[in-house]
Subunit: 473 residues, 3 copies
């Protein structure tokens, strides 16, 4: 039995109505080959610092680091050890990558109808030239095909950067990062545009394991002895300034809720001192985060960095998995979120400032129409980021257009970002967005809501302009 | 460069599937020209009291009073002063209406794909005969065209009332309103049907600025010295009776949450006395509102007025804008809402009464399928109002049909109301509803869920019958 | 005037786009006639224990026991007494079934566009051969037609079981049920597969009326004197073991919220003793339920029964109706639900266990994409049940596919169950699911998301395989 060829349909993801499909395709073609603007993501800058960087095996590239993939296999009872995911305690994990790949291939049917399945199918075909559907039978042949390509010069990250036609790619970096990889890129003769993003989570989340060590690191890199709340703020300003010099356009922060509330410096320091002594309560941590968000907004107004805020992920929900495998193992679960009341203090203090830009991301789709679109459609500072994480999918994007655009207006949104660690999936992800964008605009046009001139401009804005403008790129 | 002509498509807003579109159009045509029933809205009765009332400039008509419009420009950083919105402190605001119109026209692209954009496009074309898309280039010509029409006798509000074929239009009036404009209409020889609606918010929201003055006004107009809770109730009954004599069919009330709870008269008076002294707490205000809702239901059973309830808008979210420009400046943001537990006391006390009709409106679409439809599909008193405010749009209406109708049943809903201050947008708003209704019913018919006979009756119910029946018009 | 013939369209419920419709029909035909797997429902096993069981009148079969139907008439002001619903106090209720049927028929238009309307239309046509739309005019003729059929041998429940091609049907039984009807079926020569399901609600919900009596019953049937918490657990284990011997594959439990929390045995017993004395608080009841859920999970791991959990129905919302007519009278209203935090203790304790299967059901659709799909797409134990109750409808199923599948993956869901008391509606309900499934998969295929091979396998999984596998049938 031969494995079925998988042909990517040229009009995939479009509404099948012939009238709409024709318009969608015409709109899509105007944006399909535009350069990729990647203002937010998690690609490792090391890939570009070393001109000869090579990816490891197909499994090192595609399975072990991708929690989208292994969570689905884990959900069906396959232990993470069998997929090569390393244990925190150094316990045994499968090391035979061909065996891991075989297991993955045999279970690839689990991804039917999922975005992960679509991205991987497109990546295999467009990037690796593999047009057979992955099965247990062809697993080893396909492994070999990928493996061979990965060793070729065309698969160096810098070469792919050109091939993918990436105009700019922003990485996400902890506040204490020395940005040595970014420096190496700047020092090299390669002129790919790789910019850092300032992420303070590790130094401001006083309730996370390892926070104390991060504060020490912060003292080291900033040259400021972070023994007080005011020293912390000073060190943060110092690091932001350094990031900005290194090309950063934005900051990013994640918080469980959108709670914001200004403390006095004295109140903030009382909490900070408790944290240094290891006696801070969860309540303290929530108060401190709510206050730091206010300060991050203030600093953004002062230094002009765009402020990104990701709300609503309950991290490390599965304690068993966290203890055994650590962070980011597919066990972060969204919660219901309130913005209207929670973020009001921040918006009342800074939301009317003409120089401030706050891009909001959320995992609770019910807030799109109810809270986020009305906020973005009123406050000059507020813009909405594209659908995030679980919602960065064909349906997720459709829900977003459906629930955000009427009230927020297109121009209070920020186009697309791929938010990915998986460098090779970047073109596939942007392509889904561009197709879904063209399809949405085509739907408006065939319903007589926008005319052709508007339709072309809206498609271009979604696929290219808005992201550049929102991040001052 | 000539501005593009904007032709309203005769089959706009319908699903583009040819089979469905054909049915939708046939259904729509049976209701497209029916008289407009407007049971709830905010048009100023003054427009009809004076037979020679004229609208001011295009900007006075279309921009300055319309927070849908200026909020979108404000969200892009355009100060409200530049749009002529008057400041509370009498500070400077732009007075050159041609300049304001120019600024609006240059930014009209911001409304692409929004309901405001659709309504305005239709209004300009159908009411003013302007078939060019508004741009910075043609702004002044179009201003002149509108301005000229506005001065003509055909644009007197009474003339437009006939032209729009409005069968009845209900206004919304504070409890202390003398209804002198309604009286003037009744005293005139014009027989347009303009009915008042009793809205007690200003006299029962004890935590709002100016409440004390409203109580004094209430004492004046009712002739009852409102010095106690029982006097307040007596005065409310007095005013409801007056409104009813003046033709009112309904009351309306807005509350942040659907919390209801009966207090004893003594408890209610303790809070009322604190409020008179200015020492009531926010908790007091919430308790008092929860109790007044119970009393409003009781009174509705006694006097037969339909009870409308609008839940879930966090008013004046932006303190800076509220302080500078006052109420209703596009800064009201919805919140997540619970009905199931909150409104249970009211429904347990009055929801089974055959003579009681309670029409619910909400801004949290998640309550449609989860709470509102099951409540409307059980309690004899409960009916669902059409989608409100941000959701009074093509998508909002689609969500409503999609999430309400299966469980509530069509006949526990109340058709459409335009809920608008913008008198000239009324035909456009009803047309969107009628088209969306026909499209929804057509979708059921082509899927074999209802037959042709049912489809025609459902379309007629949605476009005309239900609203008349729900409000006893 | 003759009543209109109602022809069930062979392609009903499919998207009308010709390309999608063609694929949907082809997929549907592969599953349309497969045997029905009914792993969860509320059909009375008495129907099958007596080979000569006959249904009563059309009204006894279709109106009086069906709260889907009489709630809609009640919502329009028709007293339940007029529909023959018996009063708790023995007060008068209509006994003339022809009169009740007439009233129902005259109001059948209320069900336009509702799932109840669709099921009943299909049931009348496919099961009873009635192809006229029910109206006040033909009510008595149709009553007679149904009545005659109901008396025929072809309408014995066992005969219909064969005719419907039911492969297995699971009933739901209280923990104290002696399962005598199941025993009678096993003792008979009929080999229809009717399995019990263990439902402990009545013995563990310490705040419900009659709980004390249920504990006495439990002592009787288990032979264990249930005077303490540990005795309760022992008795539950005893009953589960008995149910398992009688063929049970699963348990089921309903709770208002998904709150879980392990108590110590001593803490649990303190609450249990208060409950025996009638002094337990609502807080006690919530804590006890949260603890019992932990124990039910533990027992499932030990005895292998699948654990079903139904969350989010606020039962008996209308106290007037509850006092007059009792339970299950169409007045259960959903509430907003949190799973992420509430069910974490249970999942952290048992969710990684390879032998544990927990099927979740919920009435708050917003949890699909936000919480349930991410949980099912990670924890090996968690599977999602199909849309429940109000959402067991064409739109409800579409929402489910739209919001669950991308993140959860098809194979972490459990196919369909009809969850019905209405035995004769079973084929209609499964048919809606199978059509909606085929339509959803067809939508993926015409959008190029899955290929034909995948599409056929997915349709089969949805329509047959997943339910069998999830319940070990």
């Amino acid at each position: 039995m031969t494995a079925s060829k998988y042909h990517l349909s040229p009009d995939r993801f479009f509404d099948p109505n012939p009238a709409q499909l024709k318009v969608a395709m015409a709109l899509y073609l105007t944006i399909a080959d535009s350069p990729l603007v990647c203002p937010h993501g998690h690609v490792d800058p090391r890939l570009f610092a070393d001109p000869d960087y090579t990816f490891g095996s197909p499994v090192e590239l595609l399975i072990i680091p991708d929690h989208y993939i292994f969570r689905m296999l884990y959900a069906q009872g396959i232990p993470l050890e069998k997929l090569g995911v390393p244990r925190v305690d150094g316990g045994e994990s499968e090391t035979d990558h061909r065996l891991i790949w075989q297991l993955f291939a045999e279970n690839f049917y689990l991804f039917r109808g999922t975005p992960t399945g679509s991205w991987l199918t497109e990546e295999l075909q467009s990037v690796f030239g593999i047009d057979e559907k992955l099965t247990g039978e062809n697993a080893q042949i396909i492994y070999e095909q990928i493996n061979r390509k990965l060793k070729s010069p065309e698969f160096r990250p810098r070469a792919l950067f050109e091939q993918f036609d990436i105009e700019v790619l922003c990485t996400t970096n902890t506040a204490t990062d020395t940005l040595k990889h970014h420096q190496a890129i700047r020092d090299s003769d390669w002129n790919g545009r790789i910019l850092p993003t300032f992420r303070p989570d590790a130094i401001v989340n006083i309730d996370t394991v390892g926070w104390r060590d991060e504060i020490d690191k912060l003292s080291d890199v900033s040259g400021i002895d972070v023994v007080s709340y005011t020293a912390l703020i000073e060190a943060m300003e110092n690091r932001r300034s350094f990031f900005k010099k290194m090309g950063a356009k934005a900051t990013d922060q994640a918080a469980l809720t959108a709670y914001t509330n200004r403390l006095s410096d004295a109140e903030a320091d009382v909490i900070f001192q408790r944290a240094l002594k290891g006696t801070a309560t969860p309540q303290d941590a929530a108060q401190f985060t709510g206050h730091i968000l206010m300060e991050m907004a203030r600093m953004s107004i002062e230094d002009g960095l765009v402020m990104q805020l990701h709300i609503g992920s309950y991290r490390n929900h599965n304690a068993v998995i966290f203890d055994r495998f650590g962070l980011d193992k597919g066990a972060d679960i969204p919660i219901a979120t309130d913005f209207t009341r929670a973020i009001r203090p921040l918006l009342n203090a800074y939301g009317n400032h003409p120089g401030f830009s706050l891009i909001l991301f959320n995992l609770d789709e019910t807030t799109y129409a109810r809270e986020l679109a009305p906020l973005a459609g009123h406050y000059p500072a507020v813009k909405l980021g594209p659908p995030w994480w679980f919602h960065d999918s064909l349906n997720g994007i459709r829900h977003y257009f459906d629930q955000v655009m009427e009230t927020a207006g297109l121009y209070n949104t920020t186009g697309f970002n791929d938010d990915t660690r998986a460098y090779l999936s970047i073109p596939a992800r942007h392509d889904v967005w561009r197709r879904a964008s063209a399809d949405w605009v085509a739907g408006l046009m065939v319903r007589g809501i926008v005319d052709e001139e508007d339709a072309y401009e809206m498609t271009r804005a979604l696929g290219y302009d808005l992201a550049k403008r929102a991040y001052n790129l």
